[in-house]
Symmetry: C2
Subunit: 504 residues, 2 copies
């Protein structure tokens, strides 16, 4: 395996993705259908994502809590749209005891059947709003701004590592407010947080806006989303923020005394992002050499490779490498790195050739590689290589070791910005205005991308387009062209253009 | 509820505990049997625990990963002791689909029955070692030092918030090594990490040592543990570190090529602590006024209460409070606070009396309260009150506002040390040497505590003592009295004294 080339994007995009996930050690399928094992290098990306998002949630006034994994079956039926949308592919717990049969393994104890089956949460609106009933009495208890980091299960039939798995990790915010206006403001605020995170941490540009009626969350009044474009020009829904109105407070009878002394149902939002973001990160930046991770979320931000043939050379370069690593780790903590020390690794694997070692670190997506060979040691210098520009053009030679820590930090920041700029240029170059059905179907296939098209606003037409062209409405983009026109399929009047695309 | 006194420890220790959990907003029972809701103030303690432990795990070379929630039923049967120990009270998933019946709720789809039932993980040795089979080929792949933060489910019949719940949160380390010596060293190392965390973060003194054969983890060669004493003098097992030998590598056929080129089964450890620690923290330090949280793990470390009757007084004291809060938050980040800003809250709730407000913050366990009234404002000063010494003796008056940040930090450190010293003095005063069965049973009831007693080393006697006196062997304490003697029950020869106690 090691040293083998990964499939190129041009040859087979799907296989390229799986090769990166596999070869960079990010995740693998487990023996449990549809459930993945998130391997250390992949989980480290998730940890950085969690940390940055969690800080943003707290900075906007939210606190974390934890609610049960299991939901009584009857709860799922309480909110009608929810029942239809989620009471489908769920893991159902029916028993609570096993018996060990000596020599024969274990069996489910038929005596230990639950009175009411429990559902492994596919999302937690129901159990949380059932709990909020006891937490909310008065307008003084509002707003209630709670987030949960958790695992959820949706029994997906076709799974794909990170992008669609039966079990995945996510955060789900569930807030309660005294007025519709407050809740709608929160829905927008959290979309803004997701956009900020996607763009400034993941370096992944996103379009923002409401989903169409057909694509909204079951149980929501409306859903806002961030949509990103992958390198195959398909869309990835990367985060959603839902305005739930009073749907759940009515289903679970959560009323509060408002400032006028009247009982009123509370107004709700929910919002979430998941380990799917790791798939988005991979597909936004990576290349045919492997993973490209944006510096702020890279598990290893800097790798230092000492080199040399003779023992004395190796000793000297290793000494210089360790010293530099130490100096990098001791730099003052800064916001850009989430107040964590810079993540530096010294690669002392002299068993393999420098070329092999460089390839392995490129595969793993490390943004900056520092090379220190015997000639560098002699000059008290090093070479800096950037992952986003493999080869000579991305190399800076003869950097004095004294100046290296500052240069490395500057380079990490530069790479973060360059990745965003590159992804944005790619995305922008692949947004096309189309004005006829013929143009729609042709451009969707070649060159592909996001199509800005008029749509008559009906669910029927939306479904029809999805059937005919496999394209869905990704969002009604904020800041997009709002001039009216004619629907690309039916010719009926259209209020404005929306974004269509093939999607993950 | 608010303002009502909590039950005193003397009146009803169990109720006192539940009152604190409830009134400090730490957790509550959910509508799902045995599953708790961890409320924001309780979850914030867990977040601080996670953060500190996670750093210690990483500093000892571990990485995090994530394995599936579900375990195929047959896996539980693969390791014999494991099957007997864990294949009991487990949540069993049998179906993967529901049907919404319009107007009638949802039903489990009988067509969607799993071929093999899935067990919600009670612990992950089996699924992880099944995965390690593919990760471990050569001694170069070892050691494999992996930790997982996760939820687990054990269908406990008698539950108690934090201490014993059907679902709980924990971390589980699962490591693989090339030699028994390496794995045993790791088992010890992680016990040391737990001890360090318990003592230096939770301010909770612990005894360390092996469990007896009767109390070890099913599937382990031996189990090391940390044991703490609660204020009712009962023992709480606070963390365990297991040496698993080759039991799991044999059950899942995980072999590697050793340095001599031979195939060998890997050596394993596992170790874990859980949300149970929150129960331990509460019961170690709290008093009849409410929660007492050690400063390093307190969700709010400092509360500043501006006071005043007139609007102008309130304005002036609030301004001073906010300024002080700002200065505290901007102090250089330090190791003692895990490089987080000091957690300060300004309480501007002038609707309630100062006495009421102070009581509420005492209930919530905030280590330091800063009071700023009109007289303080006039003198550019404030009052510092420490939670671990309620009343006048814990107050420092007339602290100049300029000097307050430094004084507050020093006080937080002082309180951390004082809580540990107090808990240790209490624990040490309640360890008794007993030399006869009569003395054993009497001292166990009055005064109670940990009994250092001789035991003949047999499982039979251990079980007998547990039956007769409801006391179990907590551990064979490191550094304890190792002189031989006679078993307190049977009079048979005993190799050394062990610790008996009633336990949670």
């Amino acid at each position: 395996m090691a040293g083998e080339k990964i499939t190129s994007r041009a040859a087979d995009y799907s296989q390229w993705y799986l090769d990166i996930v596999n070869r960079a050690g990010l995740a693998e399928n487990s023996s449990v259908r549809g459930c993945m094992v998130i391997k250390p290098h992949g989980y480290a990306i998730w940890e950085r994502m969690q940390r940055a998002l969690d800080r943003m949630f707290k900075d906007t006034g939210h606190v974390n809590a934890y609610f049960p994994l299991f939901i009584p079956k009857s709860y799922l039926a309480k909110e009608e749209q929810m029942a239809e949308g989620f009471a489908k592919e769920c893991a159902v717990v029916t028993h609570y005891r096993l018996k060990a049969i000596p020599g024969k393994g274990v069996e489910v104890d038929p005596e230990a059947r639950l009175e009411e089956e429990l559902i492994v949460r596919p999302t937690s609106e129901t159990i949380i709003w059932n709990t909020y009933k006891n937490w909310i009495q008065s307008y003084r208890d509002l707003p209630l701004l709670v987030n949960q980091w958790a695992n959820v299960v949706r029994w997906e039939m076709r799974t794909r590592l990170f992008l669609r798995t039966a079990e995945f990790l996510w955060q789900e915010g569930h807030t309660a407010h005294a007025t519709a206006a407050d809740a709608e403001e929160e829905t927008r605020r959290m979309l803004g947080v997701y956009r900020d995170f996607a763009e400034n941490w993941m370096a992944m540009p996103v379009l923002c806006g409401p989903k169409s009626e057909g694509q909204k969350f079951p149980g929501a009044e409306y859903t806002l989303c961030i949509e990103a474009m992958m390198q195959d020009k398909k869309a990835l829904q990367a985060g959603t923020s839902h305005y739930l109105g009073q749907n759940f407070s009515k289903a679970f009878d959560v009323r509060f005394q408002n400032q006028q002394g009247q009982l009123e149902h509370a107004y709700a939002t929910s919002w979430g992002v998941s380990t799917r973001l790791i798939g988005g990160l991979i597909m936004t930046h990576s290349d045919d050499q492997g993973l490209v991770a944006p510096p702020r979320l890279a598990p290893v931000q800097v790798v230092i490779c000492p080199m040399g043939k003779e023992a004395s050379e190796r000793e000297a370069s290793t000494r210089a490498a360790r010293e530099l690593a130490g100096r990098l780790r001791e730099l003052p903590r800064e916001d850009f790195f989430d107040y964590e020390p810079v993540a530096v690794r010294v690669d002392e694997d002299f068993h393999n050739s420098p070329g092999f070692r460089f390839n392995e670190w490129e595969l793993k997506g490390v943004p900056v590689r520092v090379e220190i060979g015997p000639k560098d040691v002699a000059q008290n210098a090093c070479v800096l290589a950037r992952r986003d520009m493999p080869g000579k053009e991305g190399k800076q030679m003869g950097i004095p070791l004294d100046a290296a820590p500052g240069k490395v930090i500057a380079l990490l920041k530069e790479i973060q910005a360059a990745l965003f700029a590159k992804a944005k240029a790619f995305r922008d170059a692949n947004i096309h205005e189309v004005n006829s059905w013929d143009e729609f179907t042709k451009k969707l296939e070649e060159p592909g991308g996001f199509l800005m098209a008029h749509w008559d606003g009906t669910r029927e037409t939306e479904d029809r387009i999805s059937e005919l062209a496999k394209a869905t409405i990704r969002c009604i983009p904020d800041g997009g062209d709002t001039a009216p026109g004619k629907c690309v399929l039916t010719g009926n009047p259209s209020a404005r253009r929306v974004v269509f695309a093939k999607a993950y």
